[in-house]
C-alpha cells in the first residue's frame, strides 16, 4: 500500500491509468474488452476514412460499405455458403488427417529416443521444403479433385505438427515421469496416465496454431487448382477487378479463422479447468 492516498479525482484517474501499465498486470474483463474493441475498430475507422476521402480509386480501395453490399450479393446470387462450406470442409479434412497421423508420431518421437533419431532429422528436412513447391507433383499424382486440395493442406501442416507435438511431449517434466516410475508404473501406463494427460493442454494449443496454417495452405491450394471455395473466389474476383469481393473473401476467411480459434480456446478452458483455477 502506498502511504499517500490520492485525493482529487484527477489523481485517482492517473493512478488507475498507471496500474494498467504494470508489467504483467491484470485487466478486468470490461477493460480488456474495451481495449480489444479499440484495437479492432481503429483500423476499421481508418479504412472507412480513406475510402470516403477519395484518396484512392474505388476500384483499388473499396470502402466497408461496398464490401458489405458485395458480400450480400455474393450470398444472394453466387452461393457464398457453398464456398464457405467447401473451403471449411477442405481445411477440416486436411487438418484432421494431419492431426490423426502427427499426434501418435510426435508422441513416439518425443518419448522414444531411437524414433527421434530416426525421424526427427528427416522431418526437419522436409519441413524446410516449401509445401507450395509440391503442388505440381500433387497435381500429377493425385489429380485436381478434392483430394489434391486436402493433400496440399496436409503437406503444409503435417511436418510442422509432428515436430511441435514431439516438443510438447518432451516438455513433460521429468519428475512427473520419474514419480510414476517409482510408483511402479510400466511404460504403457506412463505414456497413457502421465505423458498424454500432462501434454494435452500444449497439444490442443499446437492444434490451434496449426489450424491457422491450414487456412493459409487452403488458399494456396484453391488459387492453383480449384473451381469453388473462398480462395478460388478471391482469385476469380481479381480477374474481374472485383476488389470488393477480394476484400470480402479475405475478411470472411479471417472471421472463420477467428471463430475456430475461439472454439479451441473454449475447448481448452472446458477440458483443462485446473489450468485456470488459482
Amino acid at each position: 500500500m502506498s502511504a499517500a492516498k490520492p485525493t482529487s479525482s484527477l489523481e485517482r484517474l492517473c493512478a488507475a491509468w498507471c496500474r494498467l501499465w504494470m508489467i504483467r498486470g491484470h485487466l478486468s474483463r470490461r477493460t480488456y474488452l474495451m481495449f480489444a474493441l479499440v484495437g479492432l475498430l481503429f483500423p476499421l475507422a481508418v479504412w472507412w476514412g480513406v475510402s470516403v476521402s477519395g484518396w484512392m480509386d474505388k476500384v483499388f480501395m473499396p470502402g466497408p460499405a461496398d464490401v458489405l453490399s458485395r458480400t450480400y450479393v455474393w450470398f444472394k446470387e453466387d452461393d457464398l455458403m457453398h464456398d464457405v462450406w467447401i473451403s471449411t470442409y477442405r481445411v477440416i479434412a486436411g487438418f484432421s488427417l494431419s492431426a490423426v497421423l502427427a499426434i501418435p508420431l510426435g508422441l513416439m518421437i518425443g518419448t522414444y529416443r531411437p524414433v527421434q533419431a530416426m525421424l526427427e532429422p528427416l522431418t526437419d528436412f522436409i519441413r524446410y521444403m516449401p509445401a507450395v513447391a509440391f503442388i505440381p507433383l500433387v497435381m500429377l499424382w493425385v489429380g485436381i479433385d478434392e483430394s489434391s486440395k486436402i493433400a496440399i493442406i496436409f503437406i503444409g501442416t503435417f511436418f510442422q505438427m509432428v515436430l511441435m507435438v514431439a516438443e510438447d511431449v518432451r516438455r513433460v517434466p521429468i519428475t512427473q515421469i520419474e514419480a510414476a516410475q517409482t510408483m511402479g508404473a510400466n511404460r504403457r501406463e506412463i505414456v497413457s496416465l502421465v505423458i498424454v494427460p500432462s501434454a494435452k493442454p500444449a497439444l490442443l494449443d499446437t492444434l490451434r496454431v496449426t489450424m491457422g496454417w491450414a487456412w493459409t495452405y487452403l488458399v494456396v491450394a484453391e488459387l492453383v487448382a480449384a473451381n469453388s471455395g473462398l480462395g478460388y473466389s478471391i482469385l476469380r474476383a481479381q480477374r474481374f477487378m472485383q476488389t470488393d469481393k477480394i476484400f470480402a473473401g479475405i475478411i470472411l476467411i479471417g472471421l472463420i479463422g477467428l471463430a475456430i480459434d475461439q472454439l479451441f480456446r473454449w475447448l481448452h478452458r472446458k477440458n483443462f479447468p485446473w489450468m485456470y483455477k488459482k
Partner: protein, 283 residues
C-alpha cells in the same frame, strides 16, 4: 543380519572419459530394517544421486545395491520416493494424486470392494494426518508449496512402502509445519516399520530424525563419516535444546565445513571493503 538395504562399492560417474564427474566413489553402507538414516553434506556431494540410485532411477557405474539381499534393477513399488521438487500431477485433484498408485493397480487386477474400501480409508486417514482434508478436491496449483509437498508425502505413503526415500522433502516448508511433519514421519516409520533414507541440508533435522547421520563429502562424492545419534527413541522437540544435541550438531557442522573446502575468506572481504572505501574517497 537384518539389513534392508546394502550398498556395496557403489560407484557412479556422469559423462565419459576425462570430463566425467565422479558423483559417487566407493560407497559402502548397510541400512537395517526399520532404520532411519539421514544424509547431510555440502552441495554436490552426491546425496541426491545416491538416493536416486537406491530408488532405481539411476544405474550405478559399478557396485551394487541390494534390497532384502536382492540386487535392484530399476524402480519398484517397495521403494517410494518423495522428490526435492514438486512432482504432483497438476491435472489431478489432491485426492486423485494421492490415489495414483491405486489407479495403477486398478488397471491391472480385479480388486475386491474390500480392497477399494481399505485404500480409500487409508487415503482419508492420510489426508487427515497431513491436514489436507479441506482441500481434497483442489488442484495442486491452488495449494501453497508446503501443502503440495504434503500431498506428495501422502501419495508416497499410500501403498505402505517398505522403504521411503526422501530428498529434502521439507525444504519448502515453514518451521512449524516442518516440526509437525517431523513427528508425523517418525510416527509413521515406527508404526509401519518403514525403512527411511532421508537427504537434507538441515543438520538439526538430520539429527532429530535419524538414528544415524551420514556425512558425505564432495569431489569425488563419498561417505565421509557416520554419526550414531544417542537420543531417546521417543523424540521430543525439546531435545533439540539439550547439550548432547547441540554438541552433536556442532560436531557435524564442523565436519561438513571441513569437507566442503569452503570457508569465509576474511582477508578478501576486507580487501573488498577497502577498495570500496577508496573509490568513495576519490569521488
Amino acid at each position: 543380519m537384518d539389513n534392508k538395504i546394502s550398498i556395496k562399492a557403489a560407484h557412479k560417474t556422469f559423462g565419459e572419459g576425462e570430463r566425467g564427474i565422479v558423483a559417487l566413489q566407493g560407497v559402502n553402507l548397510d541400512i537395517a530394517r526399520n532404520e532411519f538414516v539421514t544424509f547431510v553434506g555440502a552441495s554436490g556431494c552426491g546425496k541426491s544421486t545416491l538416493l536416486r540410485c537406491i530408488g532405481g532411477l539411476e544405474t550405478l557405474s559399478s557396485g551394487s545395491i541390494e534390497v532384502d539381499g536382492v540386487p535392484i534393477s530399476g524402480p519398484g513399488v517397495d521403494r517410494a520416493m518423495v522428490f526435492q521438487h514438486y512432482s504432483l500431477y497438476p491435472w489431478l485433484t489432491v485426492m486423485d494424486n494421492i490415489k495414483f498408485t491405486r489407479k495403477l493397480q486398478a488397471g491391472r487386477e480385479d480388486l475386491t470392494s474390500a480392497d477399494v474400501e481399505a485404500a480409500s480409508g487409508r487415503a482419508d486417514a492420510l489426508l487427515d494426518l497431513m491436514g489436507l482434508t479441506h482441500v481434497c478436491d483442489a488442484y495442486p496449483n491452488q495449494l501453497s508449496g508446503g501443502m503440495q509437498q504434503r500431498v506428495a508425502i501422502a501419495r508416497a505413503l499410500l501403498p505402505r512402502p517398505q522403504i521411503l526415500l526422501m530428498d529434502e522433502p521439507f525444504g519448502a516448508l515453514d518451521a512449524q509445519t516442518r516440526e509437525v511433519m517431523h513427528d508425523l514421519i517418525l510416527h509413521v516409520s515406527k508404526l509401519e516399520k518403514t525403512t527411511i533414507v532421508f537427504v537434507t541440508h538441515d543438520v538439526e533435522e538430520a539429527i532429530y530424525l535419524g538414528q544415524r547421520v551420514v556425512v558425505m563429502a564432495p569431489r569425488p562424492g563419498r561417505i565421509d563419516s557416520i554419526y550414531p545419534v544417542e537420543l531417546p527413541a521417543k523424540r521430543d522437540q525439546d531435545m533439540k535444546l539439550s547439550p548432547e544435541f547441540m554438541q552433536q550438531k556442532k560436531a557435524i557442522l564442523h565436519r561438513i565445513r571441513e569437507t566442503a573446502g569452503m570457508r569465509t575468506d576474511y582477508e578478501l572481504l576486507e580487501r573488498m571493503t577497502r577498495q570500496a572505501e577508496q573509490q568513495k574517497d576519490k569521488q
